[in-house]
């Protein structure tokens, strides 16, 4: 202990204290503060950059998911549209068929009606013509029959004979 105290130099102690405190103050102003500030700023920057990268990644993922969803929706819509179109097509075809059939039936009915009326007219015409013809024939026959008296008598007799029978 005595040796230690003997070795203790007041001058050295004085200089050490003065110089060290001076060094401490100088370094604090010109080195430690700027260094620590710069480092913490840099760390803050790195943390922010990492965070924004993470955010960007998440956004990207969201976008991708959105895209996927949109694509799926579009596909579903397309399928739906195709299905509808197909349905419409079959409906249209069947409708057209129906209509055509109806039209045809109507035409057939009309044709039949026309044929019927024509037939009736033709029959009526035929009847009138047959009547005219029969009258003419009858006239001709009567004329020829009644040309001699014998035949007239005979006819009267035949008719009378028939009449008695009745």
């Amino acid at each position: 202990m005595e040796k230690l105290i003997g070795e203790f130099s007041i001058g050295l102690f004085f200089w050490q204290t003065v110089l060290f405190v001076l060094l401490l103050l100088l370094l604090r102003k010109y080195a430690w503060k700027p260094i620590l500030n710069a480092v913490s700023e840099r760390e803050e920057g790195i943390r922010k950059a990492l965070l924004s990268a993470e955010n960007a990644k998440r956004e990207m993922e969201n976008l991708q998911a959105d895209n996927e969803k949109l694509l799926k929706e579009a596909r579903a819509e397309r399928d739906l549209m195709l299905k509808e179109a197909r349905e419409i097509k079959t409906k249209m075809v069947s409708d057209a068929k129906e209509e055509a059939k109806m039209e045809a039936d109507k035409m057939i009915v009309q044709a039949q009606a026309a044929i019927e009326s024509e037939k009736k007219a033709a029959i009526a015409e035929l009847k009138s013509q047959v009547a005219t013809l029969s009258l003419e024939i009858a006239e001709k026959v009567v004329k020829s029959e009644l040309s001699n008296s014998d035949k007239q008598l005979k006819l009267v007799e035949d008719m009378l004979g028939d009449a008695t029978l009745n």
Partner: protein, 380 residues
């Protein structure tokens, strides 16, 4: 290429061993007997670790038996009835008396301390033969240690102010030597300051912790150079450092810190029961305030001083034994110890910083933190 280097190395080694051989054939140098040489080495190592008034690089004795010192003188500043400033070269390494403003000064060559004397320069030794009884002036000289403090301070300032500037220039990325020092700065912040002091309060202690770490580390490393620099192994230096830690700890101490010292048990028991305990506990806690920095100063001083003594003694073995076994053996040993000392230089700087941070942590503790330590009385 590698073969060439190897060849060169071998040639060099052969040349060296040849010269060593011629040296070994010469009659023993220095002291006559091994005993005398041992004493010589012990004195040399002791002197080597002392602070001196000039910056000696090496000294040698020429063929005429004349001693030569190579180095440069440093200014001597004394205060005794006025200021006395002169160059240390005037002492001629303690061999001459210096007259300044009507006062005479002589240097004791055992301790390199300066005393006031009469014109003859006679030093009066006490009964033990070492203690000088002459009056001692207040010695504020720029000694070798003070010079080295200047050098290291300048180095630290240049390195770290350039690191600070490089952030602005280089988009927050350090350049040059700062690339090496920045991780250390960050280590001190993240692994020493924050865990010990806490996230909220560490900032105000950072400048001191960083300065003390690099200051001690650099001076420790300089101590390993063969220039005979032993700044951190000097009790005055470690005292000054520990005193700053002590002052910072106690001047920034919170209410809880003082409560912890004067009321360590808190509300854990009734006051009547605390009285007998506190008769013992409070003196221990108060003593602890002083023991903490004292342990800091002794630890650093003893470690650095011991390292220098061990290295010096191991190298001295070559001189003491002067034979082919001790030479390489002590070289190998001192090489190994040098490597360990390199680690110790860093380790002691780390420990000083770490413990300072720990003490600052105690000083800045708030109540929540104190709760975590409940039941813990000893903090030494």
């Amino acid at each position: 290429m590698q073969k060439k280097t190897l060849n060169r190395l071998l040639t060099f080694l052969i040349a060296v061993s040849a010269s060593l051989h011629s040296y070994a054939n010469e009659p023993s140098q220095g002291g006559e007997s091994q005993e005398a040489r041992k004493k010589e080495v012990s004195e040399y190592v002791k002197h080597h670790n002392l602070d001196t008034h000039d910056f000696g690089l090496y000294s040698y004795t020429d063929d005429h038996g004349e001693e030569h010192h190579v180095g440069f003188p440093l200014p001597i500043i004394l205060w005794t009835d006025g200021l006395h400033v002169f160059s240390s070269s005037k002492f001629h390494h303690g061999q001459e008396v210096v007259e300044s403003n009507g006062k005479y000064f002589a240097m004791d060559t055992h301790t390199y301390k300066i005393y006031e004397t009469d014109a003859s320069g006679q030093l009066h030794y006490g009964e033990d033969g070492h203690h000088v009884e002459n009056a001692k002036p207040l010695d504020l000289s720029i000694t070798k240690s003070v010079f080295m403090i200047f050098v290291v301070s300048l180095m630290l300032f240049l390195i770290f102010s350039s690191l600070a500037k490089s952030y602005a220039k280089n988009a927050s990325i350090p350049s040059g030597v700062g690339r090496f020092f920045e991780p250390i700065v960050l280590y001190i912040r993240d692994d020493i300051a924050i865990p010990n002091i806490g996230e909220t309060k560490y900032k105000k202690y950072m400048p001191y912790l960083l300065t003390v770490f690099f200051f001690v580390w650099f001076l420790n490393i300089f101590g390993l150079t063969p220039l005979g620099i032993n700044v951190t192994g000097n009790i005055a230096i470690t005292t000054a450092l520990a005193l700053i830690t002590f002052l910072l700890t106690n001047l920034t101490g919170t209410k809880d810190y003082w409560l912890h010292i004067f009321d360590p048990l808190g509300s854990s028991m009734p006051w009547i029961a605390k009285i007998p305990l506190y008769i013992i506990l409070i003196p221990i806690e108060v003593l602890g305030i002083f023991i903490k920095p004292f342990s800091l100063l002794i630890r650093l001083y003893a470690n650095m001083q011991a390292g220098h003594i061990v290295l010096g003694s191991l190298l001295g073995l070559i001189y003491i034994f002067q034979n082919w076994i001790a030479g390489p053996l002590s070289f190998g040993l001192s090489f190994a110890i040098s490597l360990i000392e390199l680690l110790v230089a860093l380790l002691q700087a780390y420990i000083f910083t770490m413990l300072s941070a720990l003490y600052f942590g105690f000083a800045s503790e708030t109540h929540d933190h104190a709760d975590a330590h409940e039941g813990e009385v000893q903090h030494l």
